[in-house]
Amino acid sequence: MTAPHVIARHDAESSAQSSWWTSVNPIARLGAAFAIALCLVLTIDWVSAATALALELALLPFLGIRPAQFWRRTWPVWLAAPLTGLTIVLYGETSGRVWFEFLFARVSDGSISLGVATMLRVLAIALPSVVLFIGVDTTRLADGLAQIVRLPARFVLGALAGLRLVGLLVEDWRSLELARRARGVGDTGRLRRLAGQAFSLLVIAIRRGSRLATAMEARAFGSSKERSWARPSTLGSRDVTVMLLGFLVGILSIASSLLAGTWNFIAS
């Protein structure tokens, strides 16, 4: 079973975080990440992105995330950001002095500054989105989405319960693989076998899903009554502070680019 390991890892992660931070409502974390992203998509310039990134890195220690954990979770972002930047440097809009040319690639002053700005922006938006969600408890997130954001309870709770099946499906996939070896078809035609295996997994997933739905229905899920909530989800002053901080990061980065004169509204 993989599930217990997942839980164990999850516990280790939350215990390393400061108790202040773990008590913050997942919805506030969502709000903060959203506020930062909203401000930063308005402009493409390196000053605003760099300011946001600097502020974010300054706030990071308060979350109490261990460095190893930070790198494990964010490495794809650190990999994707420079690659995105490089693409823009090579193929972005040309202006100013041209440094280098090859086939369709043309590196110019303009494309370099645009590339750097893009790279910083990807980091400034993606890092908080990942970091703010390290150790988020999915049950609390669902509680918040249903009670604060007011998404339909059936949808949110269905998704929450379904999430638990992912671990089981990983096990199923392994069994399917072993079973194919046992049936004598494990040597050749790997692509075709994978397609067949994926189809079997789909069938099994639907069965597991419908059994879970039966179990939920048997506990009066989906009745027309307005349900009550065993765990209240509310936004306290701490949660509001977190969201304001996110918004502040966004506003300060916009202000810095206006002051530096690099503001570059995307729609213009």
Partner: protein, 506 residues
């Protein structure tokens, strides 16, 4: 539960049900009255419609799922249902939240929810913190959790659908005890569907048998097994007599003059595990210190509680998983030119050497018809068509699947799926057959068939390895027992391969 609820009264008049996807009705014209507080054991062979009836009683058969006929009324209070598979009825990731789930749906005010959750957990004897992850519970604990989730809702009608079918013996007893406590304290109406009659017949006062979509037997629990013994046996239903080891068909093979045990030398070793450590994924050892020997014509049973690494050990012996440490060695007679280590064999080389029947038959189905399913291995061996056809036809007949030759394997009943999954492995005539929980949730008829089939194979010299909780199965077939206990790496018990000598050899 603080408030006591009166049991529900159930009245069915000419009740029938046809699933939307089927032509024949699952249930037709059932007349039945269950009085408040009555405890009913609902029996029937697999595919008889008893689970459908239970779902109807639970109010889970909606109009869009099929056509109902007649009437079904449940008078008084909520109904609660516990299902067979512990994994698929855990809903949330923490114990307390999971029990609270039903109460929330019933719109119980928050301040009442948590006391009711604690009371329900108390009643089923699940003494764990409310924030314990549900995935960290054993199967028996998960079933008691499901029972608590239902109890918290204060049902007037408690419905249990094979609640112990997927559990190890320890879990079975836990759940049986919890249900016993609950019905002793509350006058709920209880309906249990179960194959294990001997487990429940002390607790119930009435036994109803469903066959052919209708009520075949309806009698008091005290007398039903003596008054209707022959009929029950005909319907393929376990009775306390056939469950015991003294029954005529479920018992060990008779020892007679011509049946003297053969010397071990007549059972050449095929596979040997020496100080084996097994793992599902490389690096994550499940258990170590395993010594075992698989011999031609002998049955090795691998037993032990859930989580002790039984299946992993079986799959490693079968060459599906590489050993984490130590060796699995195939004898000259088995390897026939292939590597000495089964996990290095090609998939095709496995076919004639080791066959594996998985716990969940659906995991090993590859085709859209039963016939094609049986041909898969033979095609991989590039067997001439005429010979392959002959083998398939013989297997279809032997395992009573002829009438289903063109059916989709996924559409078969539980017992049929099990027979097919065994047949797919027999097609290529492997020297060793490994079965993972072959008798899980099977009715008496399928069980008997399986045991007699495996006996034939053993007599013909096939080695059988069975990973099982089923004590009857062990008593009926096992020559050697490898018992793995929960204590990881315990060499003493893990290494002990005991010849229990219960099975006589020809």
């Amino acid at each position: 539960m603080t408030a006591t609820v009166r049991g529900a009264r159930v009245v069915l008049r000419g009740f029938g049900w046809r699933h939307a996807t089927r032509r024949a009705p699952a249930l037709s014209s059932i007349d039945l009255v269950i009085e408040p507080g009555e405890r009913v054991l609902l029996l029937g062979a697999s595919g008889s419609g008893k689970s459908t009836l239970l779902q109807a009683l639970a109010g889970l058969l909606g109009d869009d799922e099929g056509d109902a006929g007649g009437s079904l009324e449940v008078e008084g209070g909520t109904r609660g249902l516990v299902l067979q598979d512990p994994e698929s009825q855990v809903i949330l990731s923490r114990v307390g939240d999971d029990v609270a789930f039903g109460l929330e749906n019933l719109a119980v005010p928050r301040q009442e929810i948590w006391p009711r959750v604690r009371a329900a957990l108390d009643e089923v004897g699940l003494d764990v913190p409310l924030d314990r992850p549900t995935s960290a519970l054993s199967g028996g604990q998960q079933q008691r959790l499901a029972l608590a989730g239902v109890l918290a809702m204060r049902p007037a009608l408690l419905l249990l659908d094979e609640p112990t079918a997927n559990l190890d013996p320890e879990g079975v007893q836990e759940v049986r005890r919890a249900v016993g406590e609950v019905v002793a304290q509350h006058p709920v109406t209880l309906v249990v569907v179960e194959h294990r009659v001997e487990l429940w017949h002390d607790l119930v006062d009435r036994v109803i048998v469903i066959a052919g979509g209708g009520v075949a037997i309806d009698a008091p629990a005290a007398t039903v097994f003596t008054d209707h013994a022959d009929q029950l046996c005909e319907l393929g239903i376990w009775t306390p007599a056939s469950s015991g080891l003294n029954g005529s068909q479920g018992a060990a093979r008779p020892m007679g003059p011509g049946n003297a045990p053969r010397a071990l030398g007549d059972h050449p070793p095929l596979l040997a595990a020496d100080d084996l450590t097994v793992s599902r994924t490389p690096g994550a050892a499940v258990r170590g210190g395993i010594h075992a020997e698989v011999r031609a014509g002998r049955c090795l049973a691998i037993t032990g509680p859930n989580g002790s690494g039984k299946s992993t050990t079986g799959l490693t012996l079968a060459g599906l998983l590489p050993p984490e440490d130590g060796l699995v060695q195939a004898s000259e007679g088995l390897r026939q030119g292939a590597s000495a280590q089964p996990h290095r064999w090609r998939s095709r080389e496995l076919l004639t050497r080791v066959g594996v029947v998985f716990q969940d038959p659906e995991h090993q189905f590859l085709s859209t018809t039963v016939r094609a399913e049986l041909e898969v291995g033979l095609k991989a061996l590039r067997m001439p068509k005429s010979e392959a056809d002959a083998r398939v036809t013989e297997l279809l007949k032997r395992l009573r699947l002829e009438h289903l030759a063109e059916a989709n394997p996924f559409s078969l009943s539980g017992g049929e799926k099990r027979r097919l999954s065994v047949a797919t492995m027999l097609a290529t005539r492997p020297q060793v057959l490994v079965l993972d929980e072959p008798t899980f949730g099977q009715d008496a008829a399928t069980w008997r068939e399986l045991v007699s089939l495996l006996r034939e194979l053993l007599d013909a010299g096939t080695a059988v390895v069975a990973i099982t909780h089923d004590e009857r199965f062990v008593a009926a077939l096992a020559d050697d027992v490898l018992h793995l206990d929960r204590n990881e790496g315990s060499l003493a018990t893990a290494g002990a391969a005991i010849d229990d000598g219960s099975r006589a050899r020809p």
